[in-house]
C-alpha cells in the first residue's frame, strides 16, 4: 500500500489524524496533513482506508 497526499487540497480538518494517528499528522503552523509513513504496515491498512474515506477534501489517495 502506498499513500499519496495532496497538500494543496487539504483543508486541515484533522479527520485523517483521528482515523490513523500512526500514519498521518498535521503541521503545527497551519494544520496541513503530514504523511508519517508512506508505506504503512498491513495491520494499519483498514485505518488508512478509513482516513481516505473520511477526508472531506479528498486529499488522500491510496495506490495498491
Amino acid at each position: 500500500m502506498k499513500i499519496v497526499v495532496d497538500e494543496e487540497k487539504c483543508v486541515a480538518a484533522g479527520q485523517c489524524v483521528v482515523a490513523a494517528p500512526d500514519v498521518f499528522d498535521q503541521r503545527d503552523e497551519d494544520g496541513i496533513v503530514v504523511l508519517l509513513d508512506e508505506n504503512p504496515p498491513p495491520r494499519l491498512a483498514g485505518d488508512v482506508r478509513q482516513a481516505a474515506a473520511v477526508c472531506p477534501a479528498l486529499a488522500i489517495s491510496i495506490e495498491d
Binding site: 483543508v11 484533522g14 483521528v18 498535521q26
Partner: protein, 406 residues
C-alpha cells in the same frame, strides 16, 4: 397540502417542519421524496435543488463547479435578513471559493489541529467537572443549557481566542442575534457591528501585549503586514460565533435523546473504553445533525447528477440531516445506535468547507457525555417531553431549555 393544487405548485416546502412526535428526525417530506435530489420551494418563492441523498451530497459538496459565492444571482439565501445584508458581508471562509477560501482558511486552521485540541482535553475535563459541581450544589431542577451546555463551549472558545470570559454576556447576546433566523437585517447588522467593535479593541490590545492565544496570533499577522485589522476582526468574529451555539446544542440535544434511549445511555455510562465513547459521539452527531438549515450553494456550470441536470445558476441546498438519515448510508437511520459505524456522517458537512472546529467539538462532547451521566446517574427530565421547546428558528437546531433533575 390541499389536493386541488396543480402539479406545478405541488413542490414540497423547504425547510419543512420537524414532526413534534419525533423532533430528532428530519422533516418527513425531505426523507420521502424517493430520490436523492429534487426541487422545493423556499421562503422567497424560488425553487432551488434540495439534496438529501448521502452519496449525492458528497458529490455536490466536493464538486468545483459548485460555489458558495452568495453574491451570485440565484443564490438560495436561508433567510430574508441574509438576503438583505449580502452586500455588507465581506469575504469569509463561508462565502469564498477556491484559492480565496484556501488562503482565508489556512490562517484559521493552526489552532484547531487534532493534537492541539487533545492538549485542551484536561482543561475541558476540569471545566466540565466544575460546572457539574456547581449544578449539583444549586437548586433543583436546573436548566442544563445555562448550567453546562452553553458555558462549556463558551469558556473553551474564549480560552482559545484569548477573549475574557467575563465579557461573555455581552458577546453571547450579539452572537445569538447575528445568527437568529428571524432577526431583521438591522438587528443582525447591529449585532455584528457591536461584536466587531469589541474584537477590534481586543486585537489592538494584543498588538502591544500579545499572549498565547489565537487573537494574539492574528495580531502578530497584522503587525507583520499579512493581514489587515478589519480582516483579523472578521476571522475572530467567525470563530467566536461559530464556536458558541453549535456544541452547546449538541450537549443539550444529545442529553435529551439519550434520556429517551436509556439502554444507549447505559452503554455510554458504563464503558471504560474511550473508543466506544468516541464512536458514540459520532452516532449522536449523525442522529441529531444540528446544522439544519442546509448548506447553501449555487451551480457555476451544468451538472449531471443522479439522473437530473442542475443548470448553471441554479440554487442548491444540501440538507445535512436528511443525508445523515439516508438508509443507503445508515441502515435503520431512525435508530440511535451508539455502536454503529457512523464516522462517514455529514454533521460537520463535507468537502473543503467542512467544519473547522470539529476536533474541538468532538473532544468537548466526548468529555461531557462521558462525565455528566456518570457523575449524575439519576439525571432525568424535570418536565414532560412534550413541554420541551425545540429551536426551529436558528442556524443550529436544539432546545431552548432542558430542565433536569436528579
Amino acid at each position: 397540502m390541499a389536493e386541488t393544487q396543480t402539479a406545478e405548485t405541488r413542490v414540497p416546502e423547504y425547510p419543512g417542519v420537524r414532526d413534534g412526535r419525533c423532533p430528532f428526525a428530519p422533516p418527513a417530506e425531505l426523507l420521502q421524496q424517493g430520490k436523492p435530489l429534487f426541487r422545493a420551494r423556499i421562503w422567497d418563492g424560488s425553487t432551488p435543488w434540495i439534496v438529501t441523498g448521502h452519496a449525492a451530497q458528497r458529490e455536490i459538496l466536493s464538486d468545483p463547479r459548485v460555489s458558495v459565492n452568495e453574491k451570485l444571482p440565484g443564490f438560495p439565501y436561508p433567510t430574508q435578513a441574509m438576503a438583505e445584508t449580502v452586500d455588507h458581508r465581506p469575504l469569509t471562509i463561508f462565502n469564498a471559493d477556491g484559492a480565496d477560501h484556501v488562503r482565508i482558511r489556512r490562517m484559521m486552521t493552526a489552532p484547531f489541529t487534532r493534537n492541539r485540541m487533545e492538549k485542551l482535553r484536561p482543561a475541558i475535563q476540569q471545566f466540565t467537572e466544575e460546572l457539574i459541581d456547581r449544578m449539583l450544589a444549586g437548586p433543583k431542577p436546573a436548566d442544563l443549557v445555562t448550567a453546562l451546555s452553553l458555558p462549556l463551549p463558551s469558556l473553551m472558545i474564549c480560552e482559545l481566542l484569548g477573549v475574557p470570559y467575563t465579557d461573555h454576556d455581552f458577546f453571547q447576546e450579539h452572537a445569538t442575534v447575528a445568527v437568529k433566523r428571524d432577526a431583521t437585517a438591522e438587528e443582525s447588522l447591529a449585532g455584528m457591528q457591536a461584536l466587531g467593535g469589541y474584537l477590534t479593541q481586543l486585537l489592538e490590545k494584543k498588538l502591544t501585549e500579545p499572549e498565547n492565544d489565537v487573537l494574539s496570533d492574528f495580531a502578530a499577522r497584522v503587525k507583520a503586514g499579512e493581514l489587515e485589522l478589519p480582516d483579523a476582526t472578521l476571522l475572530a468574529m467567525v470563530l467566536l460565533i461559530a464556536g458558541h451555539e453549535t456544541s452547546a446544542n449538541m450537549i443539550t440535544l444529545g442529553t435529551a435523546a439519550l434520556l429517551e434511549n436509556p439502554d444507549q445511555l447505559e452503554l455510554l455510562r458504563t464503558t471504560e473504553d474511550p473508543a466506544v465513547v468516541a464512536n458514540a459521539v459520532e452516532e449522536l452527531l449523525r442522529y441529531l445533525t444540528i446544522p439544519h438549515l442546509g448548506q447553501r450553494r449555487i451551480a457555476l456550470e451544468d451538472i449531471e447528477i443522479a439522473g437530473e441536470t442542475i443548470r448553471a445558476g441554479d440554487g442548491i441546498i444540501v440538507s445535512l440531516p436528511a443525508g445523515n438519515w439516508d438508509p443507503e448510508a445508515f441502515p435503520e437511520p431512525d435508530r440511535l445506535d451508539l455502536t454503529r459505524a457512523a464516522r462517514h456522517h455529514h454533521a460537520f458537512a463535507w468537502g473543503a468547507h467542512q467544519c473547522l472546529g470539529q476536533q474541538l467539538a468532538r473532544i468537548e462532547l466526548q468529555v461531557v457525555y462521558r462525565t455528566l451521566y456518570r457523575r449524575v446517574p439519576t439525571l432525568r427530565l424535570a418536565v414532560g417531553r412534550d413541554e420541551l421547546e425545540f429551536k426551529g428558528d436558528s442556524l443550529a437546531y436544539g432546545v431552548y431549555e432542558l430542565p433536569v433533575t436528579w
